[in-house]
Every structure is written in structure tokens, then in C-alpha cells.
């Protein structure tokens, strides 16, 4: 089976090479008949890449599932006692396998693209060539640089096992989701570059690209959140985001993808920002390559040290080639990207998108700076410094706050220009309510905001984090209110027109413009995530040695040590604590924090966190092991407010994205004439304003 896999990898490379080279020849061919036939063979070769890479990926998974330790890769990332699901996950656990997985996902996307070639044959043909080019690069890596089918001189009896940190259910789906996101951005990139190369007329390509980008963005966002949840549940430090270089690498294309999804509306609605959009999608793709390089190349030190080697130079070259190709065609065809309209006012929907893009790119630049600065400092100063959470928190949080503020204001602005009067009218209620809500938090000592309740603390020494949290709540309330007002205002209009209730009106409103109102749902989910993050400022933690019957008091909770147990199976040995939990004296339940020692990894420990989660706060407990001097168990407990809202927010973002992907319902005919205003404006020779869509 491994030999078949290895052979299929070579075949896949040959097919990708054929698809790339003959696709180009077909594209430049003067003879349209011969060019079409040749292009068709290139397309079919592209389809066959999928089957070849699928067989290769299956062969590797098969080898892992059947304990074929003659393969170096399987020996390094699996062992006999490993549960079956994790054996399958070994496919993407190491560098060679993950590059094969990258190729396979690209082949899947390529298959869909090539099967849907009737959408626009010329555009898809050029896009297919670019996808084949990317595929060639990854298949070269798989065949010659990081071949997953490398054989050992002598088959081992057992493997080294999967990294214990990866032996967690979410880790089975986190990398595929992340990679679906990373790889998926190849398609919008290829479409954008193809449209630029062939000087594609009209905006159809941008419609296609936007949908691909949304799907990809959804996968990437979900992958990132799964990673955050994994970190929270497994790493045992009480947090979910540590600004690790690999985490940052996944965030970067997500941020630029978000910017693209906003600015693309400017191009669709007003024919503006075409150059900007093209570069946004180019940069997004390049950041996914950078992310893959950081994850797999080991250029920066990271907690994700699952697969490190010296493949970075290959990625540097690939990035360089991609940049040169993009720049060349941009220079050659930039006249094709002239804007059809200009910005007319600073207070307009266009400006808000522009500011939103700038702020997002500012955040992206800050994260990129912090991620790559260690490399820069090594090159300049001769030593590699570490850039950790303090830097990112100080720089990114204020930018994030500005972004939340823009999220609140943007939807209230009209296209072209907004008068102060209309802004005041739309903004007054949301601003008033958000001020009232946040004042209430301060004045009435609403939990968990105790730190904000006393004026003395407020004026003398409140922690910066708490102030940021308070501002987050202020702006978040503003966003929620503006979203609600948008739904209610529109719902009321349809309520009257369709003679129905408000909720039905809002439903019909959403069905008529799924993208816009789905977008609002995404904003709402994003705000829930921000509210969850705001809770970080009020985290508490306590560490204590706890014998039988001993108590640990943290916040309103009391933990009582009931029992300490040990267990052993083929994969790992474990120690666990049995702790009764009381809140304000009332029994809540029992928690079982555990520490596992994985045998194949030389007894490497891994925490299994016990978490009592509510909408208000999480009681997060880890069993740290036994004090080497006293032999008493050590328990560490955290009270983390509002964490659940992070995960709920992610689900809402996903739901909103899916809503935005659904096509609009057919327009409902109104029984009431649209407006006398339109007629009057026609008489005056005026065009109605294009707003809000």
C-alpha cells in the first residue's frame, strides 16, 4: 500500500504538471479549436489529480491504521495502543502527512472547480491553471522534500506515538478545519489572479470569489475557534489564546479575509476599490502560505512544535514567486482595475468599509510584526527575542476596540453620504442604551464587575484590563443595539406591508437580503466573542495542596478533596482527583481533573481539565500532580467569567455566515406603492439614493 501511495504521488505530480503546462499552452494558443481540446485535456488531468492524491492519502491512513511501522512517518506519529481515531489523525499530525493532506484538500477544491467549469469556461480554465501551479509546488514537496512514504531500513515493532497534546477529540477535526480554510483561500486567489490575467470583464468573478471566500473564511474561523477550545481544555493554563506564533499565523489570513469580505461590497455596489480587493486576496493567500510555513517549517518557536524541519526555504521561494507573478500581472493590467466611482464623504458606508479595512489591516500588521519580529531581531541584533502576550494585548486590544466601534457605526451609514441628522437619529437610541447599560454595570455592582463598583478604585488604580473590558461592553452594547434597530426598523416596514407580526416581518426581511442580515448575525456573534474575551480581565486563580477533606476557596466556590485515584491502560497511566464543588455553600456536583502520562511518549504528562461551565463563569480545575517533597496532590482552580460566550459567539458567527451564503428569496411584491417620494424625485430629475443594501 505505501508503494502504491508513493507511486500515486508521482502520478499526481505528473498530472498537475501537465494540467499547468498544457493549460498555459491552451490559453495562449491562437488556434481556438486545438486550444480548446488541449485545455480540455488539461482540465481532465486536473480532475485526475484528485484521484491520485486521494489514493496516496488513503495509503498513508491505511498504513497508520494497520500499524505499518516500516514507514518512518507512521513510526514517528502513531503506536499500537493509540485509539483508532487518533491513528487516522496521524495523517495530518506530522509535517509530511500534513503536506500530503494540504495537497489532497487542494485536489478536492480543484475537483469541484473543474467539474463546475460551465460557470464560465474561460475564467475557470485560467483559474484551473493557477490551482495546478499551486498543486505542483505542494506535490514537489510531498515527493522530494517531505515524502510521507519514506521507509525505514528495518520495520519497528511499535511507534513513538502521537503527541499527547493531540490526543483529544477536537484535535481530530481542528487541523482539517484549519486546513480547509488555509487551502480554500487558494481558490479566491486563483480566481482573482485569473480574472486579472485575462482582463475579465464585469464583476462576475467577484461574486464567485466572494462565495468561495465566505466558505473558506467559515472553515478557517471554525478551525481557529476549535484550536482555542482545545488550548482551553488541554493545555491547562486557564486560557484559550496565548498569541503563540502558530495561532497568530492562522489569525492573519482570517483577518485579511474578513477585510476582503467587507471591501468586496464596495466593488459590487459601487465599482470601487478593485485594486485594493485584488491585493487583499493576494495577501490573504500569501499569508496562508506563510501560516503553513510557520506551522510546518519551524521558523519561529511555538508550542505547536508538532512538526519542524528545514522546509522553510522552499516556502520562501514559493512566496517570492507568487508575489512576483501577482505584481507583474497587476502592473501589466492595472488599468483594468480602475474604480468607477469615488468616495464622496467621510461619513458614508464606503468610508466605514475603508476604515474597517484599514483597522483590520492595522491589526493584521501588528500581529504580523509581533510574530515575525523575533526573526527580524535575530537578523539585525544577532539574538532572537521573544514577543509574547503583553505586546499583543497592548497593541491589538485598542485596535480591536476601534473595530468594535466601527462595527456599531458602519451599518447606520448610507452609501455615498450620510447627513449628521440621519446619523443622530439612528445613533441616539443605541448610544443612549449602551451608556445606560455600562453605567448600570459600574453603579449597581453587577457581577462579575465588582472591580468597577467603587469610585475610589476607579480613580486611583483600576487595572487597564478592566477598563478595556468596560469599554468592550460599552461598544458591544452599541453594536447589539444598532443590529437590533436595523432588524426592528426593517421588520416594521414589512410588518405593515405584509400585514403580519414583527417577527415574521424580520424573517421576511432577512429572506429578502440574506447576505446583509446574515452579516448582521455574524457581527452579533463577533460581539458575543468580544464580550467573552472581556471577561478575561476578571479571571481569578488559586493553587493549593489539597489532602483528603481539605478545602480550596475561590470566588463563590469551595472545592473539597474527596478522593485521589490512579488508573492505567495500554496507552497511558493517569492520576485523578475527585473534588466536590459547592457554590455559596450549596452542593453543585463533583469534578474529576486528571493528569495522564502517555507511555509511548516517555511518560509525557497531559492535563485533562475539569470544567464546570455556566453562562456567567467557568470553574476550571486542573490536577497538577503531587508535590515531590510532601507527596500531597496540588490542585489549581480558575474562575473565568463569561468564557462560554466565546464559544456561543463562534457558533452564532458560523450560523450567520451560513445564512449569508443562502440565496435570497424572491422579492415579495408590495401591496403598497413604494413611495410618493420617488415620483416626486423623478419629477425633479433626481436619482433616489442607493442605500443600505
Amino acid at each position: 500500500m505505501p508503494l502504491l501511495g508513493d507511486f500515486c504521488l508521482i502520478v499526481a505530480l505528473a498530472l498537475a504538471g501537465y494540467s499547468f503546462v498544457f493549460g498555459i499552452i491552451a490559453a495562449v494558443s491562437k488556434d481556438s479549436g486545438a486550444g480548446f481540446r488541449l485545455g480540455e485535456t488539461a482540465r481532465r488531468a486536473g480532475i485526475w489529480i484528485f484521484f491520485a492524491v486521494t489514493i496516496a492519502a488513503f495509503a498513508l491512513a491505511w498504513a497508520a491504521m494497520n500499524n505499518d511501522f516500516s514507514l518512518a512517518y507512521v513510526k514517528a506519529h502513531s503506536n499500537r495502543a493509540l485509539p483508532t481515531a487518533y491513528k487516522f489523525a496521524a495523517l495530518w499530525s506530522g509535517q509530511e502527512g500534513s503536506l500530503l493532506f494540504w495537497s489532497w484538500l487542494l485536489a478536492c477544491y480543484g475537483l469541484v472547480l473543474r467539474l463546475r467549469h460551465k460557470v464560465d469556461r474561460r475564467l475557470v480554465a485560467m483559474t484551473s491553471i493557477i490551482v495546478a501551479g499551486i498543486q505542483v509546488f505542494f506535490l514537489i514537496l510531498c515527493n522530494f522534500v517531505a515524502n510521507p512514504f519514506g521507509m525505514l531500513d528495518r520495520a519497528a515493532l511499535d511507534g513513538n506515538g502521537l503527541n499527547p497534546l493531540l490526543q483529544y477529540p477536537e484535535m481530530v477535526i481542528h487541523p482539517p478545519m484549519l486546513y480547509l480554510g488555509y487551502v480554500g483561500f487558494s481558490l479566491p486567489f486563483s480566481f482573482a489572479l485569473a480574472a486579472l490575467i485575462i482582463r475579465y470583464p464585469g464583476e462576475k468573478w467577484i461574486h464567485i470569489t466572494r462565495r468561495w471566500t465566505m466558505v473558506t473564511w467559515l472553515f478557517l474561523g471554525f478551525g481557529i475557534s476549535l484550536g482555542a477550545h482545545w488550548a482551553y481544555a488541554v493545555l491547562g493554563w486557564g486560557g484559550y489564546w496565548g498569541w503563540d506564533p502558530v495561532e497568530n499565523a492562522s489569525l492573519l489570513p482570517w483577518i485579511t479575509g474578513t477585510a476582503f469580505l467587507h471591501s468586496v461590497m464596495m466593488q459590487e455596489k459601487r465599482g470601487m476599490m478593485k485594486k485594493w480587493n485584488v491585493w487583499l486576496i493576494f495577501i490573504t493567500f500569501m499569508l496562508t502560505i506563510l501560516g503553513t510555513m510557520l506551522t510546518r517549517g519551524g521558523a519561529v518557536s511555538s508550542v505547536h512544535a508538532f512538526a519542524q524541519s528545514a522546509i522553510s526555504p522552499w516556502f520562501y521561494w514559493f512566496l517570492g514567486i507568487v508575489f512576483v507573478v501577482c505584481l507583474t500581472f497587476f502592473i501589466l493590467n492595472r488599468d483594468h482595475l480602475q474604480a468607477e466611482n469615488r468616495l464622496e464623504s467621510l461619513v458614508s458606508r464606503e468610508s466605514s468599509f475603508l476604515f474597517n479595512n484599514l483597522v483590520l489591516l492595522g491589526a493584521c500588521f501588528a500581529v504580523l510584526c509581533g510574530t515575525l519580529f523575533p526573526l527580524l531581531s535575530e537578523a539585525v541584533q544577532g539574538h532572537k527575542i521573544t514577543v509574547g502576550p503583553p505586546f499583543f494585548n497592548k497593541v491589538v486590544i485598542p485596535i480591536g476596540l476601534f473595530l468594535i466601534f466601527l462595527t456599531a457605526v458602519g451599518p447606520l451609514l448610507a452609501w455615498r453620504s450620510t447627513s449628521w441628522g440621519s446619523l443622530k437619529r439612528n445613533f441616539a437610541w443605541p448610544a443612549g442604551i449602551s451608556l445606560v447599560v455600562t453605567s448600570a454595570l459600574v453603579v449597581w455592582n453587577i457581577r462579575p464587575w465588582q472591580g468597577l463598583s467603587r469610585v475610589r478604585e476607579w480613580t486611583t488604580g483600576l487595572e487597564t484590563a478592566q477598563i478595556f473590558s468596560w469599554m468592550t461592553i460599552l461598544f458591544s452594547t452599541l453594536v447589539i443595539m444598532t443590529i437590533a434597530s436595523e432588524f426592528i426598523r426593517g421588520g416594521r416596514v414589512l410588518q405593515g406591508k405584509l400585514n403580519t407580526n414583527l417577527f415574521s416581518g424580520m424573517y421576511h426581511l432577512t429572506r429578502r437580503n440574506m447576505r446583509r442580515y446574515g452579516g448582521y448575525v455574524v457581527h452579533f456573534g463577533f460581539i458575543l466573542v468580544m464580550i467573552g474575551i472581556a471577561g478575561l480581565a476578571f479571571n481569578q486563580d488559586k493553587e493549593q495542596e489539597m489532602g483528603l477533606g481539605d478545602k480550596l476557596q475561590i470566588g463563590h466556590y469551595t472545592l473539597v478533596g474527596q478522593k485521589y485515584t490512579q488508573d492505567d491502560n495500554a496507552n497511558y497511566g493517569s492520576e485523578a482527583a475527585v473534588l466536590d464543588v459547592y457554590k455559596n455553600g450549596k452542593f453543585l456536583g463533583t469534578l474529576f481533573p486528571e493528569l495522564r502520562f502517555f507511555k509511548a511518549s516517555g511518560g509525557q504528562p497531559d492535563h485533562i481539565v475539569a470544567n464546570h461551565s455556566t453562562l456567567v463563569e467557568d470553574l476550571y480545575v486542573i490536577y497538577e500532580g503531587r508535590n515531590t517533597e510532601t507527596d500531597r496532590p496540588i490542585i489549581k482552580a480558575f474562575v473565568n467569567p463569561l468564557v462560554s460566550w466565546v464559544w456561543i459567539g463562534v457558533l452564532v458567527v458560523m450560523f450567520g455566515t451560513m445564512v449569508a451564503l443562502v440565496p435570497n428569496a424572491e422579492q415579495i411584491r408590495s401591496t403598497v406603492p413604494v413611495s410618493v417620494a420617488l415620483k416626486a424625485m423623478e419629477e425633479q430629475g433626481l436619482e433616489p439614493a442607493r442605500v443600505g443594501k
Partner: protein, 151 residues
């Protein structure tokens, strides 16, 4: 509306200025990484029997008592445990660049957008703008059309 915006900006600036950490231990400890290879922050390292974190935490406490200057404490850790032990870049020399670049780039970007929009507005024909906004009746009609076509 402008007044509200100014008030908001002022309150944000004031809150930022007023914000000051009251726990040196948490603040300085939050800038130091455990050097045992666990890739965790010093105060978050949860490895029982960690060869470094206990010593580092003891040193942190004693240094905080000995020196009122946080920078001196961080420099002590840089000297003792290596430059990578401190995860916050310094604010002088080459490392200052990382603090300056992101806000500078963002600020320049915002400034550029404002200047470009202002320039484009000045280029626009004043007659076009005046014709619509000067007549209150027409402005009312525009507003109504705007409301009704927004759905």
C-alpha cells in the same frame, strides 16, 4: 452628534490614562516566560517539579522588593535566564521599532484615507451637492426615499 463623539473619545482617552496596574507581581510576572521549555508564561506554568519556575518566582518576589523599577527587574531576568525569558520587547534601541511600527502604520493609513477623501470631496462639483441639500422639501423627500428603499 459631534459633541457625543467628542465625549466618547474623551472618556475613552481618560479611562486609558487613568488605567494603571495595581499589582506589580502580576504585571511584571506576566512579562516573563518559564524557561523549562513548557512555552507557558511564568505565572501560568503548571508543571509540578518544574526545574525553573519555582526558582524564577522566588527571584521575582525578591527582585520586586529590592527594586522599585520594573525595567530593572526584567533586566535581571534577561541577564539570569537569557533574553528570551522576557516576552515583552524593550522600549529602546532596535526593539522600540516593534512598539512604534503598528500604531505608526495605522495612523498614517487613517490620515491618508482622510486626506484622500477630503481631496476627492473638494474635486466634486459644488453644484451637485448644493442642489440636493439646499432645498429642505427635497431633502425631506430624499430622506423618505432613503428610509423606504433601505429595506
Amino acid at each position: 452628534m459631534k459633541r457625543v463623539a467628542r465625549l466618547l473619545i474623551l472618556s475613552c482617552a481618560l479611562t486609558l490614562l487613568l488605567g494603571a496596574d495595581n499589582s506589580r507581581y502580576e504585571k511584571v510576572g506576566g512579562k516573563i516566560m518559564c524557561t523549562c521549555g513548557c512555552a507557558e508564561m511564568l505565572l501560568k506554568c503548571n508543571h509540578v517539579g518544574c526545574p525553573n519556575s519555582d526558582t524564577m518566582i522566588r527571584q521575582l518576589r525578591s527582585q520586586l522588593q529590592a527594586s522599585p523599577n520594573d525595567a530593572d527587574v526584567l533586566n535581571f531576568f534577561r541577564r539570569t535566564w537569557g533574553i528570551t525569558a522576557v516576552v515583552e520587547p524593550g522600549t529602546h534601541g532596535f526593539e522600540l521599532l516593534i512598539w512604534v511600527l503598528p500604531p505608526l502604520v495605522l495612523g498614517l493609513g487613517l490620515l491618508l484615507v482622510i486626506l484622500v477623501v477630503r481631496k476627492l470631496r473638494l474635486r466634486a462639483s459644488p453644484a451637485d451637492a448644493g442642489e440636493i441639500t439646499l432645498d429642505p422639501h427635497l431633502e425631506a423627500l430624499r430622506q423618505r426615499a432613503r428610509r423606504e428603499t433601505e429595506v
